[in-house]
Assembly symmetry: C2
Homo-oligomer: 232 residues x 2
């Protein structure tokens, strides 16, 4: 292999809110190094393949994930010894899937709540940390919640989703007011039938857009009236 030439892998940090907990998809290694530890799904970049497509391809192959609601590049790790065997650069992607998407998983693959991560291989634990940071930030200033929520949902369900992803309690009142004012969510004409134990039926909401939109741009030092949502 020529000296100035490197293998490159795409890794996916796939998040899904399962049972009110933010969880990440991990594969258990069967061989050294890091035998028995868990790793992010991913694999090598091919010639003529883009990194985003490579991440999607490996996720589809490894976990048969039907549809990824959102995929964005996180960062590239370049520590020469991050893989003890040979040098491999890694570009991590943040991938979000909605609760409806039930993937058929191989035996070595499982969801793990991010608060109880098992021992992780390589630098994957810190990559998961970066992904959580990115997700938390974007939940606050974009409509990225659409990629974690089902097609329609009640405010309570959305509150649980946000609380799981943000890692702290969220007020349903606040969430409803802020997201409707920003135009991120909108009510449908449907309501749920009341829960098993009774209670008022909840109106069903949906996300106004399923494309990523920056709805609360950083506005410091900006003159009044200059604001406005930007599509990314």
């Amino acid at each position: 292999m020529p000296p100035d030439c490197f293998r490159h892998e795409a890794l996916g940090v796939v998040f899904q809110v399962r049972d009110k907990r933010l969880s990440v998809l991990l594969c258990q290694r069967a061989e050294p190094p890091f035998e028995g530890a868990w790793m992010l799904p991913g694999g090598l970049l091919l010639a003529d393949e883009r990194l985003g497509a490579s991440a999607g391809r490996h996720l589809a192959a490894k976990a048969d994930i039907p549809e990824i609601a959102h995929l964005e590049q996180l960062e590239t790790r370049s520590d020469p010894v991050r893989d003890p065997r040979e040098r491999v650069l890694a570009t991590a992607y943040l991938a979000l899937v909605t609760p409806g998407a039930r993937a058929r998983l191989p035996a070595d693959t499982a969801w793990h709540p991010v608060d109880e991560l098992p021992p992780c291989a390589f630098d994957h634990r810190s990559i998961i940390g970066s992904a959580r940071e990115r997700l938390r930030a974007k939940l606050s200033y974009t409509n990225i919640g659409f990629a974690l929520a089902p097609e329609t949902f009640t405010i309570s369900q959305l509150r649980d989703t946000y609380a799981a992803a943000l890692g702290h309690p969220v007020s349903a009142t606040n969430l409803q007011r802020i997201l409707t004012r920003r135009g991120v969510i909108e009510p449908t004409s449907d309501v749920t039938r009341p829960a098993a134990s009774g209670g008022r039926p909840a109106t069903l909401y949906r996300f106004a857009s399923r494309e990523l939109v920056v709805t609360n741009p950083f506005a410091a030092f900006r003159p009044r009236g200059t604001a406005g949502a930007l599509t990314v």
Copy 2:
């Protein structure tokens, strides 16, 4: 060259505020492809070299930039034909230098205001766009201005720096109040002698920290009292 093996380059988007305008360092190409067009400084990654170090090394070699006040990874471009000769992955870095740092530039290298970019080679124009976006956002919620401002400065000078980087007018009153309240800047005991045409002497300020600190974290949906500055 093996098939699953790629060259990789580190590119630097070096910003400096010059003459009240945000400017970027570019090198003019002497050979095809894109002969005569301007490109970002950078070069190939070496074995056993990290990407950040590679970006720094190429900047030091190409432009003899004395000190880079801030360097952070932006994104990795992987379009197979972004370089028409052979496939090269590129990881872009945002680099900021203070106005005091006067680099000795080779003949083919020059500063260009970002509002009047010359024709750019490869995908470098869009990379510069990404870098501007990142800088604008971070000026609003971090203390990153330290990397664009001199050691000490007046509020008016800082206003000009922020206005240049943000691309819109900035109120000195607002800037002073917000940045002092956040603890980003603090007054020194010195004042300037008045300007040539007279006027009240201005107190000199300095940045409280020259490490990147998130001073205005995204706070939506967070319970009261949970906030707090985070070091990155």
